[in-house]
């Protein structure tokens, strides 16, 4: 059980869908032994808790253990068996250690406990819920989308995540939207649809329906279909990721091209030359498009490619004329005589055996459908090729020459443009830098194109595991599923299941887009308030956050966007999660700290900041202001620091304000929080 012995009953003040961190306890670990409590004496939790911890007190370890406890995974997000738990052991500590976190969710208290056995490198997980303690990590099912290694980083905020949110190669933003609004439910529905069909197939087989196939044969077919499905799913997810990166790179490329153009335009001596080159480029582009279309249309006619084809086509027509085709080809005419005439055209009276002979022989002649076709061929050859084959390729030759000329002109216009850019870059370091970044982006685009190329190559083997062509695989999957359905008598259901599957797939995509648009508007509204003079805004929310003017975004601005995104995400969801952040103001630009400090507590129901003394000032004051004074001030330090211990003695606090453990002191109160001075010199925070 948790070491939080002072937890009172469920407060009932929190909304059913609010999740609150009640506290945590730690012993025998690298972070100090302590019990941290976020509850207010009268019930509920403090809106803001500021936990001041000098560097070296174990902030990073505590955050890692919080994420581990709330996800059931090791601090690096993986399985515990691959983690060396000795890293968490207290220096000179015992063979065991323990970390426990208490949550209030939907009015019920949940405790997640990690028990470490350092001597045998093992960890046991325990979950305590309304029905008692259970072995393992077993969160309530409504919280499963949030209490996992991926999502927990969003609310026990990992600073690196801010950069990852805007990294096109990562999918964190999209995953957060999926989890927060439970869009994964649609994938689960798709999976259930598949299972339902499988269960019906099984029942039909057991009932003997569609039993033209052996059980073994059907089983093998099912395995084959599963293999195809699995490959398709892997490829799609890989393709989507690469495609998203491709779009992002394209976007960045266009932005850099525009930046470089704009910068050159500012230099009078190059402006006109660049404009002329661009104008010429555009004109060539337009002409090239027209010529290309005309040429493609022309080469569809074989005679336009070469007089040899024209000659051969005229030969065919002449051949038809010589054998009097299609006039002679009249199967129906002979049948008419055999069926209805009394006499043959030679005057012979038609007996039964004559009629049968005529009918039999009529098969040697063409029917009316073939006559129509032959007529069309003759007409087309006459109309398109004319009478003489010579010169039939004139049009294609002319268009080819024009195409070459266009390409040549375009190449020269591009060269002229590049020359202006290079000359301007040689004089202006800013343009040079932009062009260097552009080259890096273009190289990455080429690398990516090579990776994407394999999705278009034909599948050459019969082993799904090595297939790459997605559209071919989709067609094959549909075909194999229909075969399986026909063998098991579930064709109708199979078709409905696929229709439902397609609907749910579209629903998930559309819902994602709409929620992304809504979040983008909300985040930008929030950025308008936080950074009114700044151009950094959100362009869209996809798998990652796409920023407008990304090139100019500082670390602090990116972090501000990340805060806005996370808080708006939480605000829009029906689940209110706490937000726990390490040194929240450190990277934020000085002039907007106040605004961010004021807005954070208004956007989340519970905000917990691990802070250091240099962070005090406008940001902390603004946090207090934003929370209407509902702030808990805590200071945690190691008792081995004699100077800090002396300052505690000098403060003359009452015992109830100080919680003592074997290696630390946890002090409650604003006065001590504000007078506390960490004497450590840490370069990374020197600029705060």
């Amino acid at each position: 059980m948790s070491n939080l012995t002072t937890i009172q009953g469920e407060d009932g003040k929190d909304d059913q869908h609010e999740v609150r961190l009640l506290g945590w306890s730690s012993s025998g670990l690298r972070c100090p032994d302590c019990v941290v409590d976020f509850r207010k004496p009268g019930g509920g939790t403090h809106r803001v808790t500021l936990l001041q911890m000098p560097n070296g007190t174990g902030k990073t370890t505590t955050l890692q253990l919080l994420r581990a406890s709330l996800s059931g995974r090791s601090p690096n997000g993986g399985d515990w068996t691959n983690y060396s738990i000795g890293e968490l052991r207290k220096t000179g500590g015992g063979d065991t250690g323990e970390f426990a976190v208490d949550l209030l969710a939907q009015g019920k208290r949940w405790s997640f406990r990690l028990k470490f056995y350092f001597d045998r490198n093992e960890v046991d997980l325990f979950t305590t819920g309304p029905s008692g303690e259970d072995i393992g990590f077993k969160p309530p099912r409504t919280l499963e989308p949030f209490l996992n290694a991926n999502f927990v980083r969003f609310f026990v905020f990992d600073g690196e995540l801010a950069a990852e949110l805007t990294d096109a190669t990562k999918q964190n933003a999209g995953e957060a939207v999926d989890a927060m609004f439970q869009l994964n439910a649609f994938s689960s529905m798709q999976l259930w649809g598949k299972r339902y069909l499988e269960s019906k197939v099984q029942k039909q087989r057991e009932g003997g329906a569609g039993a033209t196939q052996t059980s073994q044969g059907i089983e093998k077919k099912k395995t084959y279909v599963s293999e195809i499905e699995s490959r398709l799913s892997d490829l799609k997810s890989e393709f989507e990721k690469l495609d998203e990166e491709r779009k992002q790179l394209k976007h960045e490329e266009l932005e850099l091209i525009n930046q470089a153009r704009e910068a050159v335009r500012q230099q009078a001596e190059y402006r006109d030359r660049q404009d002329t080159a661009l104008k010429e480029q555009n004109a060539c582009d337009l002409r090239l498009k027209r010529v290309r279309t005309d040429l493609l249309d022309a080469v569809r006619d074989p005679h336009q490619l070469s007089p040899a084809f024209a000659r051969a086509m005229l030969e065919i027509r002449r051949g038809f004329d010589e054998v009097k085709l299609p006039e002679k080809s009249s199967r129906e005419w002979f049948r008419e005589i055999a069926d209805n005439a009394d006499k043959c055209i030679c005057g012979t009276t038609l007996e039964l055996h004559h009629r049968e002979h005529i009918r039999r022989e009529s098969e040697r002649y063409l029917g009316s459908d073939a006559v129509v076709l032959l007529d069309r061929i003759k007409q087309d050859v006459a109309q398109k090729v004319g009478e003489l084959p010579e010169g039939s390729d004139t049009n294609v030759r002319r268009l080819s020459a024009e195409l070459e000329e266009c390409l040549d002109k375009l190449g020269r216009a591009e060269e002229a443009y590049q020359r202006v850019q290079v000359e301007a870059a040689n004089e202006n370091p800013e343009i040079k830098q932009t062009r260097e970044r552009l080259e890096v982006i273009q190289q990455r685009q080429r690398d990516l194109a090579a990776k994407l190329d394999r999705f278009d190559r034909p599948n050459e083997t019969d082993r799904p595991r090595v297939w790459n062509n997605i559209s071919e695989i989709e067609r094959e999957l549909t075909r194999q599923k229909l075969i399986l359905a026909s063998q098991t008598g579930t064709v109708e259901l199979s078709k409905k299941q696929r229709a439902l599957d397609a609907l749910l797939h579209k629903v998930r995509g559309l819902a994602r887009n709409r929620l992304g648009e809504s979040l983008t508007r909300d985040v930008n509204a929030s950025l308008d308030e936080l950074m009114p003079d700044n151009r950094v805004r959100l362009e869209s929310v996809g798998r990652s956050l796409k920023l407008l003017n990304r090139g100019g975004a500082s670390v602090g601005e990116t972090l501000t966007v990340a805060y806005s995104f996370l808080t708006r995400l939480s605000h829009g969801s029906r689940f209110g999660l706490p937000l726990i952040v390490d040194t929240p103001a450190a990277a934020v630009d000085q002039h907007i700290r106040g605004e961010i400090g004021r807005s954070l507590p208004r956007m989340v129901g519970q905000f917990i900041a691990f802070t250091i003394s240099p962070e005090r000032g406008p940001f902390i004051e603004a946090l207090a202001e934003g929370s209407d004074g509902d702030v808990q001030y805590l200071t945690l330090f190691r008792s081995s620091n004699e100077r800090l211990m002396r300052s505690l003695d000098a403060a003359g606090l009452v015992d109830s304000d100080v919680r003592t453990s074997a290696d630390a002191r946890l002090v409650r109160g604003e006065a001590f929080f504000n007078m506390f001075q960490d004497d450590s010199k840490y370069e990374k925070h020197a600029a705060i």
């Binding site: 409504t142 689960s188 299972r195 044969g217 229909l482 439902l500 609907l503 629903v507 709409r514 809504s518």
Partner: protein, 106 residues
């Protein structure tokens, strides 16, 4: 006709459900179904299912007999109301595999 109604619905619903994610998702469901060949009722059933998931009344994972039965009941209701898609051929598209297919090889 149904698709035209779907398009009208999309035009009219734009941003109507701003700031209410549950409504945003419900609108997306309605729009997708309106654009499909399926009856609108199917959309209502999917929306109701999603709503139940949000409420925590429908468990998607892990699978137990009770969870599976509940999910299957929901699906049966959906499939009962669905129309069999007409655009898809009922027969496999080639090679005589429909009758002569061994069920073993590709």
């Amino acid at each position: 006709m149904k698709k035209m109604m779907g398009l009208m619905m999309i035009e009219n619903s734009e941003y109507q459900c701003d700031n209410n994610p549950r409504e945003v998702v419900a609108a997306a469901i309605r729009e997708v179904v309106a654009m499909s060949d399926q009856p609108d009722e199917v959309g209502e059933l999917i929306a109701s299912w999603y709503s139940e998931v949000l409420e925590g009344n429908v468990q998607l994972e892990p699978e137990t007999a009770a969870v599976r039965d509940r999910a299957f009941q929901e699906l049966e209701r959906v499939f009962d109301r669905m129309w069999t898609p007409s655009s898809e051929s009922a027969a496999p598209d080639a090679d005589g595999l429909w009758n002569g297919e061994s069920g073993v090889d590709k």
